[in-house]
């Protein structure tokens, strides 16, 4: 069996960073990254981008050396992706924040409202219900992160955690401040409004969870395969007939429900911003489905049936 030689150059400066000889033809990019880390320990595999062309796309960890268009001396170009952090860590941090922050406002911990309100309780039933719903939502997200989701990528750039936490924690504090405020005004249409909103919220939470489970079941443990999701026996998944990313559709629905329940403008704004972001993600996902699968169902739109 012929062994390969691998040289790794810096993509920007073309400086020779590493030379590996006697590399197995069946070696994967992941294994080569590990070998590279040995000579440059500050560049752990997750922050390495190796490519055949300095301006081309990154090679995948699963790619096998002998299946690449290289001679027996392969040249790879290296780009540092910057400090990386695992998706799981980011999700847990960004979701734990709102859970705790909202509760600080709910229990009216000192320095948030005037001293005469410290540790008092709201006299509106809807405020207690809202706390339960908000907390439920983020506990659900934390549990899904730990037990349901199967991530395609292990890591993301470190700066994302600061960006994401500012967004989630900031908005959580902003809405929690008003909902739990001593001068909070309950919904204009009273119990009817709250009941309807709760129904919408619960329906969408169940829907969102159903989609997450369906997506998990599409992909075997440890694999990174991608398949077209289809409706299952669970009626909540029938939204797949009309939409590529029903998880986002249900998520927006949940927040619309919460907005109606609390009749709070900051919640409406959070829902709107979330919707815009999720619509962008859904468009991207929809387009990559179309590119990857010839037989992708034509009736589906990215996030809103027939419209968007």
């Amino acid at each position: 069996m012929k062994h390969y030689e691998v040289e790794i150059l810096d993509a920007k400066t073309r400086e020779k960073l590493c030379f590996l000889d006697k590399v197995e033809p069946q070696a994967t990019i992941a294994e080569i990254k590990n070998l590279f880390t040995k000579t440059h320990p500050q560049w752990y595999p997750a922050r390495q981008s190796l490519r055949l062309d300095p301006k081309g796309r990154s090679l995948k960890d699963e790619d096998i050396l002998q299946s690449l268009p290289v001679g027996t001396t392969a040249t790879f170009y290296f780009r540092d992706l910057g400090a990386q952090i695992s998706w799981v860590t980011v999700f847990l941090t960004e979701y734990a924040g709102p859970l705790l922050i909202y509760l600080l406002f709910y229990f009216r911990v000192p320095f948030l409202y005037g001293p005469r309100y410290d540790f008092t309780a709201s006299r509106h039933a809807v405020v207690h219900l809202a706390c339960a719903c908000h907390s439920f939502h983020y506990i659900k997200r934390l549990l899904e992160t730990l037990f349901v989701h199967r991530f395609s990528h292990g890591t993301m750039p470190l700066r994302n955690i600061f960006k994401n936490c500012t967004y989630y924690w900031g908005f959580a504090a902003w809405m929690a401040y008003y909902i739990n405020h001593p001068l909070y005004t309950p919904p204009a249409y009273g119990d009817e409004q709250v009941k309807l909103a709760l129904a919408v919220f619960l329906f969408c939470q169940l829907g969102n969870f159903s989609i997450h489970v369906a997506l998990r079941n599409l992909r075997p443990a440890g694999s990174k395969t991608r398949k077209i999701p289809y409706p299952t026996r669970n009626p909540f998944t029938w939204l797949f007939l009309l939409v590529s990313c029903p998880n986002y559709t249900y998520e927006v629905g949940s927040w619309i429900g919460f907005t109606i329940m609390t009749q709070c403008l900051p919640v409406a704004l959070f829902s709107l911003v979330g919707f815009v972001q999720m619509a962008i993600w859904a468009q991207g996902k929809h387009r990559s489905y179309l590119r990857e699968f010839r037989d992708y169902p034509p009736l589906r739109s990215p996030i809103v049936p027939f419209l968007l």
């Binding site: 008003y178 405020h181 001068l183 909070y184 005004t185 204009a188 009749q263 709070c264 403008l265």
Partner: protein
């Protein structure tokens, strides 16, 4: 930041340095942009002349804002069209950058100078008005000549050098004006929404203005350095290697 200096690419500029490709515009779009830029150059010239005349005749800046406010409001507000130009694609600049710049000008004109009449005679108002006038006359004539494919070097020189002084001067004028307005905002509680209300939200214009003032700290250096980089690229043909993201 109300300076309105954006990316080196002008309105439908045919000397696009960004990717070396020539972008061609339809005849109608070109005609409209030429008209627009000539009109704006003229408008700001008229404003500049009106300000100079007032000062020469009266010897004071008191009442100057009141006397030129109609022209200022008309032409500065009309600049909202520039966001549309970017959105439609006849100008190759980001909608977001243009939006931010035009918005900050609109904010200063309508939400500070117009609404808080007590500060209209502050010297800082004259400072930013003069800065804006010089900046806009330079900028719009630059675009006009660019579209006509006859750009005199001195206009290009002015557009990429005046900002070095004008930009910081404008920021000083704007910040001092907002600062002067603060006591009046606090006293009247204007543009503020208090609890309780049915939207369960509150807004305090006074604290909002303080936040706006602090936001100049991160924003100004970024925009200033961006302009310096553009200047080096356009005037000195430096090849700038952009930081990868």
């Amino acid at each position: 930041m109300a300076s309105s200096e954006e990316d080196g690419s002008g309105n439908g500029s045919l000397e696009e340095k960004e990717n070396g490709k020539k972008r061609s515009l339809g005849a109608l779009a070109t005609a409209w942009l030429i008209f627009y830029n000539i009109a704006m150059t003229a408008g700001w010239l008229v404003l500049g002349i009106a300000m100079a005349r007032f000062y020469i005749q009266r010897g004071t800046h008191r009442g100057l804002f009141r006397s030129v406010q109609k022209i200022l409001k008309f032409f500065q507000t009309f600049a909202l069209l520039e966001v549309v130009h970017c959105a439609v694609g006849i100008v190759h600049t980001s909608v977001l950058v243009t939006g931010v710049q035009v918005s900050s000008r609109i904010f200063m004109v309508w939400f500070i100078a117009h609404s808080i009449k007590q500060i209209q005679n502050e010297e800082s108002v004259i400072l930013f008005l003069v800065v804006w006038t010089v900046t806009e006359i330079t900028r719009y004539s630059f675009y006009t000549f660019n579209l006509l494919n006859h750009l005199p070097y001195f206009i290009k020189w002015a557009r990429y050098n005046f900002f070095i002084i004008l930009y910081p001067a404008g920021v000083v004028g704007e910040l001092l004006t907002i600062y002067a307005a603060l006591p009046y905002v606090k006293k009247t509680g204007m543009y503020s929404l208090r609890l309780p209300n049915k939207y369960n939200v509150s807004f305090d214009y006074y604290y909002f203005l303080i936040i706006v003032m602090f936001s100049y700290i991160p924003l100004f250096p970024q925009l200033y350095l961006h302009m310096l980089r553009q200047r080096r690229k356009v005037l000195h043909g430096e090849v700038i290697v952009e930081k990868d993201d």
